[in-house]
């Protein structure tokens, strides 16, 4: 840091201890322990652009600081890059390891996963294949910048997930369970029932019809409602999408109405104990709860120091990198739809729907900003105010301006859904994030399928 000749310099050094166990069918695929380490340097000079270097060979750190400075000086900019002020923090931030995974024998991890995998395989002869995986890590991150910040963070993570494949003749269906926590060994015990349930669902789906395509009233369960807010609105709230685009800024003007008064949403990187939670982001900014939509109106967005400076707003602690191999970019943390009135439940949402779809679980979602998809794991038809038959291949087509505004009821049954996997953006995948939501009703949404 002291050797750097650049106007602004930041250095991240990471050391990650991890172990992984995987089963495929009855067979163990791998059981390994790995150690990964490397560094990241980013520098900025007045009138010049970012110079970036990432590397695994840590003894080359001083050379890499020089290289990054050369790269920065090669990028001429007419309009300078500014960084919003953030008080430089010196701190040790060690998250609770909750049973340090580094001290647990690999054989014990294999045993736990074997039980979850076995629970899926035992459901039926129709379960022809499974994929089960356990992965844990403890990451040590040192961060320093030339403004005086010096942070040491200890970040644990553990993910168990399973896919059960059911097959009868040519019909193949899957059930998916995934649990991702910023915790340790103590938190991944006792999930047999959850894995059994998804395998049973894969079997049940073998007899289920495909949903017919068309526009329906739709109720999203907590898990899919979480994926929905992440795809529908979270990505639009990332200020790197708007900060250099005047048309996008106009479209996303603070104060614009996006939904009815029932809709409140935000992103909270400081929520206790969640997978997307960190005390500081990868620019050293403390995380916080950032309201994005209040009573249907756009009230905030997610920032890095650069996007905040450009828009004259405050950094929100959302500059994140998946590892030393990447620069920090604006990302979500724990994104949520706030609960509606306490006591309002699923039954209040379904009561007056004559024909609709109850979309459950999430295989994933993707956004192209205005339009986005969110893929349910399974669904049920709603007929005359009641949950009716199971249906499959339920994929919803969303539109930012239409779908959000058609949310007309939000239940009070909020849960955080801490799944494994993660979010992908700009080649950085998977970033640990969490979504939280209650049951949500959309007056009308498009579902793909035969028409």
């Amino acid at each position: 840091m002291k050797q750097s000749r650049a106007d602004y310099t930041e250095i991240r050094v990471e050391r990650t201890w991890s172990s992984a166990v995987a089963f495929r069918g009855r067979r163990l695929e791998t059981a390994t322990v790995s150690e990964d380490q490397g560094g990241f340097v980013r520098v900025l000079n007045r009138g010049r652009g970012w110079g970036i270097a990432s590397f695994t060979s840590l003894d080359e750190l001083p050379a890499m600081v020089r290289r990054a400075n050369e790269l920065s000086r090669a990028v001429r900019m007419e309009e300078p890059i500014c960084l919003a002020d953030t008080a430089p923090v010196v701190a040790d931030a060690k998250l609770d390891l909750d049973g340090d995974v580094r001290g647990v024998p690999l054989g014990d991890k294999k045993k736990v996963l074997e039980a979850y995998n076995g629970a899926m395989l035992a459901v039926s002869k129709s379960i022809v294949d499974t994929q089960a995986s356990y992965r844990d890590e403890v990451s040590e991150v040192w961060y320093a910048n030339s403004e005086g910040a010096a942070l040491y963070q200890l970040r644990p993570e553990v993910v168990v997930s399973g896919t059960a494949i059911g097959r009868r003749n040519g019909t193949i269906e899957k059930g998916l369970e995934s649990i991702g926590l910023r915790k340790g060994w103590r938190s991944v015990q006792g999930f047999e029932e959850r894995f059994r349930v998804v395998a049973q669902r894969a079997v049940d789906l073998l007899d289920a019809p495909r949903v017919r395509g068309g526009a329906y009233p739709v109720i999203l369960d907590n898990e899919l409602a979480g994926v929905f807010i992440h795809e529908a609105f979270g990505h639009l709230s990332e200020a790197d999408f708007v900060y250099e685009n005047p048309q996008a800024r106009e479209m996303m003007t603070l104060g614009r109405r996006f939904g009815k008064r029932v809709l409140n949403a935000g992103d909270n990187g400081a929520a206790a104990g969640l997978r997307g939670t960190l005390p500081f982001d990868d620019e050293g900014t403390p995380t916080q709860d950032t309201p994005l939509i209040r009573e249907g109106i756009l009230v905030g967005r997610l920032h890095s120091r650069e996007t905040a400076a450009k828009l004259g707003e405050r950094p929100t602690g959302n500059a994140r990198a998946i590892s030393f191999r990447h620069p920090p970019i604006v990302r979500m943390t724990n994104t949520y739809i706030a609960p509606g009135k306490a006591g309002v439940g699923f039954n209040d949402l379904i009561r007056d729907i004559k024909l609709g779809v109850y979309a459950c679980g999430a295989f994933g979602g993707q956004t192209m900003l205005e339009n986005f998809s969110f893929t349910a794991g399974w669904g049920y038809m709603i007929r005359d105010g009641q949950v009716a038959e199971l249906v499959k291949d339920v994929v919803l087509a969303g539109n930012l301006f239409q779908t959000l505004d058609r949310i007309d009821h939000i239940a009070g049954d909020f849960t955080w859904n801490q799944m494994g996997g993660g979010c992908g953006k700009g080649g950085q995948f998977p970033l640990p994030v969490t979504e939280g939501a209650p049951h949500v009703r959309i007056e009308e949404a498009l579902i793909g399928g035969d028409v």
Partner: protein, 451 residues
């Protein structure tokens, strides 16, 4: 490094193979038309697999000076929990490895200024007052060494360059995103860059008018990019792994005609000029082409060493491994060869045919249908079943043989196995997209739903 590691392993375990890889990337990024950042990334790592008392274990490290003894100990600990496998490492090849150019001096020697000039040219050509243009140029130079205790060795250097351009146009509440790239081992020719620019211009100008989507069961032209949802199920089903696990719908169909008899698909690691090409795979198996689908009939599945050993067959040279984890099956270059082979004639170039009209010459006879260029959420459903259902990301309506405009808020659904039984037409626009070469295909009876 490999020799020393394998020598250490030979004394302590029954057998071993290893991969060492070093990658150096140089990247420049233009954001909203302005050069913003330049970066380098350097990474080297070592992956070791051992057979110890008939059991398999793996370990990897990115340490700057890896300790062979420590790595071997971790691999042995992994093997203690591992499954037994009757794995035979390939012996030293009798003949030399197939000569395939993977390293291009022009690419390796391109200076930072050359890469900046390349990106700037694309930015300037695509500049439009109402559009935001992001361009990145990424160059990679890598070196790979593989070896095993049976005496086989393989070494090669490679280069790769990717020029990606995305254009975002926001008009009121309409968001239009058009994306394309050049990817090759050699620097793009003027013709390649011209093709990239025209591809974006063609799709952008046809998208400026928004029209109502049709609905019903319709003929749809899937462009090479739009084809991903149809190809993905086949790639999963043709993997020896899903066949072994019993989850591939094509498992017992070798030799059976399952697709249009004009359709052949090969995996070819020996295609000149492609970044995925290589003389030897990551497990020392010499590269050769594999016929996945031959004139509509299921041909060979792709295998790595372990899956082949369990399935009692030979590896097809599709072993791929990272620094951490064990080798797995991966495709190299996947090429669609359709009809008499004319369209597969010039596959070394990015675009085989000159950049043509949207739809690859397939729309003249369409009375009402779609051209699908991008779907949202591909890969997130129950992929292996062949069923897909996705909102359109970028699609155009065709009426009476002409493109009438872009459609929004529509979803397409179908089953890849059913749709590929009869190909209604093959485009003249065959091209590389990442590591896949294909023309546009006209498929009939695709379900289109709209709001």
């Amino acid at each position: 490094m490999i020799d020393r590691l394998l020598e250490t392993a030979r004394r302590k375990v029954d057998g071993a193979d290893a991969l060492w890889r070093r990658e150096e990337q140089t990247a420049v990024a233009f954001e909203s038309g302005r050069l913003k950042a330049a970066g380098i990334s350097e990474e080297a790592g070592l992956n070791l697999r051992v057979l110890s008392q008939g059991r398999m274990g793996v370990a990897g490290t990115t340490a700057a000076k890896p300790d062979p003894e420590a790595l071997l100990e971790r691999a042995r600990a992994s093997a203690e929990l591992g499954e037994t496998v009757d794995l035979a490492f390939p012996k030293a090849a009798a003949a030399s490895l197939p000569p395939i150019p993977t390293y291009f001096d022009r690419t390796a020697n391109a200076s930072l200024d050359d890469l900046i000039a390349l990106g700037r040219m694309v930015v300037e050509r695509l500049a439009r007052p109402d559009c935001q243009i992001n361009v990145s140029v990424e160059r990679e130079v890598d070196a790979t060494a593989v070896g095993n205790t049976a005496g086989a060795r393989g070494e090669y250097r490679g280069t790769g360059i990717a020029v990606t351009a995305d254009v975002t146009r926001i008009a009121g509440d309409d968001v239009l995103m058009v994306y394309d790239h050049y990817v090759g081992a050699d620097m793009p020719s003027d013709g390649d860059l011209e093709a990239l620019i025209r591809s974006i211009e063609t799709r952008l100008s046809a998208a400026l008018t928004i029209v109502t989507p049709p609905d019903g069961s319709l003929p749809v032209v899937f462009t090479p990019a739009g084809l991903a949802a149809v190809v993905l199920p086949l790639e999963q089903a043709l993997s020896g792994k899903t066949v072994l696990q019993g989850s591939s719908p094509l498992a017992d169909k070798v030799g059976a005609v399952m697709f249009d008899e004009r359709l052949s698909i090969i995996d070819d690691p020996l295609t000149p000029g492609r970044p995925a090409s290589r003389p030897v795979d990551d497990e020392c198996v010499p590269s050769r082409a594999t016929g996945l689908v031959e004139r509509g009939a299921v041909g060979r599945f792709v295998y790595d060493l372990e899956t082949a050993a369990r399935a009692k067959t030979q590896s097809t040279g599709n072993g791929r491994r990272g620094i951490f984890g064990k080798p797995h099956i991966g495709y190299t270059n996947v090429l669609f060869r359709i009809g008499d082979g004319v369209h597969g004639a010039h596959v070394g170039a990015q675009h085989a045919a000159p950049p043509s009209m949207l739809g690859g010459g397939l729309i003249a006879d369409l009375d009402d249908g779609l051209i699908v260029d991008d779907l949202i959420g591909v890969g997130q459903g129950n992929v292996i079943s062949g069923a897909f259902s996705h909102p359109v990301g970028l699609a155009y309506r065709v009426q009476r043989g002409e493109v009438t405009g872009r459609v929004k808020d529509a979803a397409v659904a179908g089953n890849a196995y059913d749709l590929l039984k009869r190909i209604g037409g093959v485009g003249t626009d065959g091209r590389w997209l990442g590591s896949r070469w294909s023309p546009s295909l006209l498929l009939e009876g695709v379900s289109v739903a709209r709001r």
